[in-house]
């Protein structure tokens, strides 16, 4: 079977698809690609189903040797690779794809035609780092088999998504929006080093703890929770499934990919939109993807 060898894993490289759904009532969140737009685009470019498993690199990319020729695509942030981004390219047998330090955002995806044939746990190949479900981060010497699950012809000459990565993150009201006085929209935050795939921790002007009786309840991806210290946490792909902190807002689906590209010390601010507007923005992303 065709395979790739990890010569260097970079800072943190994991196998990701679009996530593991249907287990939240057992306390297992979906995980999946931190920038789902980039993974989906990469898969579509090489001719995979959009949910196929690829490699997610974080901040510093790795080096991967191909034992046979393959069609691949790099998407997401520019990780100083010697290959064009957002287009399908051919690599020869024995060739190594080397990625380095990011020049733009936090994540870059390597998608391979046929998909990474990693074993599935609970229906998904996605690595959930906090719990070990679906495996662990890649290490030097790991060998990953490549499957033959391509579904269409590769696409060359793709373009980067026409959506800006900067500007305020768009949010809709969270379940406890009424407990807050819009403090979230007046402040500027910085992403802290303590952020990971479970949560993006922000630092800035503290939001006063609202009064109110809060019972632990289910929490969705992108929920912004405000613990007693007033520093917001955005729940990310490996988030806990339930929580007891009030949530003034929730990042919209169309901006999930931007969460995956935030780097420590990046500025973060928020803009409130309606659910209707959020869904229009999501449709724009879908339209771009399916135009690839």
């Amino acid at each position: 079977m065709n395979s790739i060898r990890v010569l260097s894993p970079g800072f943190q490289t994991t196998v990701q698809d679009l996530g593991r759904f249907g287990w939240a009532h057992f306390g297992v969140s979906a995980s999946g690609a931190a920038d789902p737009l980039a993974l989906r685009a990469g898969n579509l470019l090489v001719g995979n189903a959009e949910n196929a498993a690829g490699l997610e690199m974080t901040l510093i990319g790795g080096a991967f040797q191909f034992d046979e020729s393959a069609t691949i695509a790099l998407t997401g942030s520019d990780f100083s690779a010697d290959l064009p981004l957002w287009t399908a390219v051919e690599v020869k047998a024995g060739e190594t794809v080397r990625c380095g330090r990011s020049r733009t955002g936090a994540r870059c995806y390597l998608c391979i035609r046929g998909s990474i044939a990693a074993p599935k746990a609970m229906g998904s190949a996605s690595t959930h780092l906090m719990t070990g479900v679906g495996g662990r981060a890649l290490r030097k010497g790991d060998v990953l088999p490549i499957g033959d699950e391509a579904v269409r012809r590769p696409r060359r000459g793709g373009t980067a998504p026409p959506f800006p990565a900067d500007g305020p993150l768009r949010v809709t009201d969270g379940p406890q929006a009424g407990w807050f006085q819009g403090e979230l929209y007046r402040a500027e935050y910085l992403l802290t080093e303590e952020s990971n795939r479970m949560g993006l921790r922000l630092r800035g002007a503290a939001i006063p703890s609202p009064a109110g009786h809060m019972l632990t309840e289910g929490v969705p991806l992108g929920a912004i929770q405000v613990p007693p210290d007033g520093q917001p946490i955005i729940l990310f792909v490996e988030h806990q499934t339930t929580g007891g902190y009030p949530k003034p807002a929730n990042v919209i689906s169309a901006d999930f990919w931007r969460l995956g590209q935030l780097r420590p010390r990046d500025p973060v601010s928020f803009e409130r939109v309606s659910v209707e507007r959020a869904l229009e923005l999501m449709q724009a992303g879908e339209k771009w993807l399916y135009g690839l």
């Binding site: 719990t131 969705p220 929920a223 339930t242 659910v275």
Partner: protein
């Protein structure tokens, strides 16, 4: 019981049955979760004490459609009886290295450590829901006189299988993780194995008994 349904995000709906912990709301949570389990377009269900969060695919379903589905379920499942709960027995070694906080619980509750174990093991618990991080069972039924506040600062490392008291709740840590609950014992039973597929050992609605295990 007042039902409140609202959007939690552009792809989820939060259904709340009042804001109290009660057997009535817990029954409603279990019924709704079971009824929605196989509905197309719903990606995840997050039951809690008195609420269910419904995550759906916004490309396939709208908030209005999911809300209509939830209301239809509430109407039809209201009267349906819950299945007979299972009773699960969890063997526990109490105190010492297994339960480093047992003495603190004893001090706080003004019982001897032996009496704490006796009261704890005599009670029957119910899994209100499973959540937080990976299969953590939230148990109701702790004898009120054993309620003990959480640690001031959470431990960085709680061993897998630790049986713990957090305020008026009890729970078992399925995986080694950070945690602020008081550890009174440990079970060798695996609640969750990341290499195996669920369902995990404990499920919402299960009854639980902690059986004292002695000896080496």
């Amino acid at each position: 019981m007042l039902t409140d349904i609202r959007a939690a995000s552009d792809r989820s709906l939060l259904v709340r049955f009042g804001d109290q912990i009660s057997l009535e709301s817990q029954g409603a949570v279990v019924r709704l979760t079971r009824a929605l389990e196989s509905v197309r377009g719903i990606l995840n269900l997050h039951p809690a004490y008195s609420s269910v969060l419904v995550d759906f695919d916004p490309r396939l379903r709208s908030h209005e459609q999911i809300e209509a589905q939830v209301r239809a379920c509430l109407d039809s499942v209201d009267a349906s009886p819950l299945e007979e709960p299972r009773t699960m027995e969890i063997p526990v070694r109490y105190g010492g290295e297994f339960g480093p906080d047992l003495e603190d619980v004893a001090r706080h509750t003004c019982f001897s450590a032996e009496r704490v174990v006796e009261l704890f093991a005599a009670a029957e618990y119910m899994v209100y829901f499973v959540g937080f991080s990976t299969c953590f069972p939230y148990l109701g039924g702790l004898p009120p006189q054993l309620a003990t506040p959480r640690l001031g600062a959470p431990r960085k490392h709680v061993p897998e299988g630790s049986v713990a008291i957090g305020g008026a709740q009890a729970g078992v840590y399925p995986l080694a993780s950070p945690g602020g609950w008081r550890l009174i014992g440990r079970t060798a039973l695996r609640l969750f194995d990341p290499q195996e597929s669920p369902p995990p050992l404990l499920r919402m609605g299960d009854h639980v008994r902690f059986i004292e295990e002695r000896g080496a």
